[in-house]
Symmetry: C2
Subunit: 193 residues, 2 copies
Amino acid sequence: MSARHDELVRTSARLFAERGYHGTSMADIAAAMGVQKGSLYSLTDSKQALLVEAMRGGAAAFHDALDAVAEDATAVDRIRDALRAHLRVVAAQLDVATVFTREWRFLEGGALEEIRVARRRYEERWQALFREGVEQAELRADLDAEAAALLVLSAANWAYTWLRPGTDTDRLADRFLAILVDGWRGYATPGPG
Amino acid sequence: MSARHDELVRTSARLFAERGYHGTSMADIAAAMGVQKGSLYSLTDSKQALLVEAMRGGAAAFHDALDAVAEDATAVDRIRDALRAHLRVVAAQLDVATVFTREWRFLEGGALEEIRVARRRYEERWQALFREGVEQAELRADLDAEAAALLVLSAANWAYTWLRPGTDTDRLADRFLAILVDGWRGYATPGPG
DNA sequence: CCTACCGATCGGTAGG
DNA sequence: CCTACCGATCGGTAGG
């Protein structure tokens, strides 16, 4: 709603990312906002509500990033776009990405289930990119699509632990792709067929 | 020291993995041990000391796993052994692996620095496996060893979030390797040269 | 947005 | 290993 509310959500996400949800007190958040902790409750219902809001921001950012991937490109190009988009979100919203990836398990009740669904759907969208690549014979027929998706998503999900803001994430995505597409051995790479 | 002490460390690791370090109280741990919380302090100095002990167990398990990798094998075989060994540790000691990977940042003082060093050294040992593979011309000359290590370590480090005890981790490692060695496109794979 | 407060719980200790 | 307790802090509320 208000700008002050948005600032509160961003500040909480930052502290949750730094110290963890249970390691952050409402007094910590209030100090970072420059007010007394009682004052926070005119901007939010509870500490849990702040976690829910940060989490929804993360879910939306990652799904929106995938939405922007071109529909009509080749499988490898689409996966490249998806990985670039994911890493861009991590670098641009490192706190929210961290909370989304690491602190979601402290959600309670319906919000926990909601975010679990959003996370599962995100993984399924990634797996689909690989299955389509195999079906359209752009990726090798015996490719283990499940393992391939798990590998690239692991790198994408682990990124919050080491990615620094300001990194050229498009180039980083390409470095990963250069390995994943042709492998460590990487014999000469003629076109398919 | 005592069997009761070991049980306390294992129980704490399990709760730290489930609820997080700051989400676990000494009363929670005492209840899981079937005693009153005051009784825990004859077995440990503090909650922080329990985290330190779990963490040292994790560091030792991962380093020991790498120590067991054959010295005289090819680079790909050594990396395969290393990944198998890592995933075996994760599956066999899921709680400790989770704490080591996710809760280390709640260590304080010298123990934090100690574990940071152990984690960094572990990553460097992995990078060395790739550099040696390139130097010995078993992996392609233009391989981005840093990105290659980051990729496989991401999968290894992310594993605690989805790996179930009882999984055939050697087979899982091989599924990952099948993709990483020859890539998604995977043209016919003649021997080098 | 502040002050003042609530009951509950925190990690840890004393004394047995 | 227990009971009883410590001061500090927790998330949250009332009333202004």
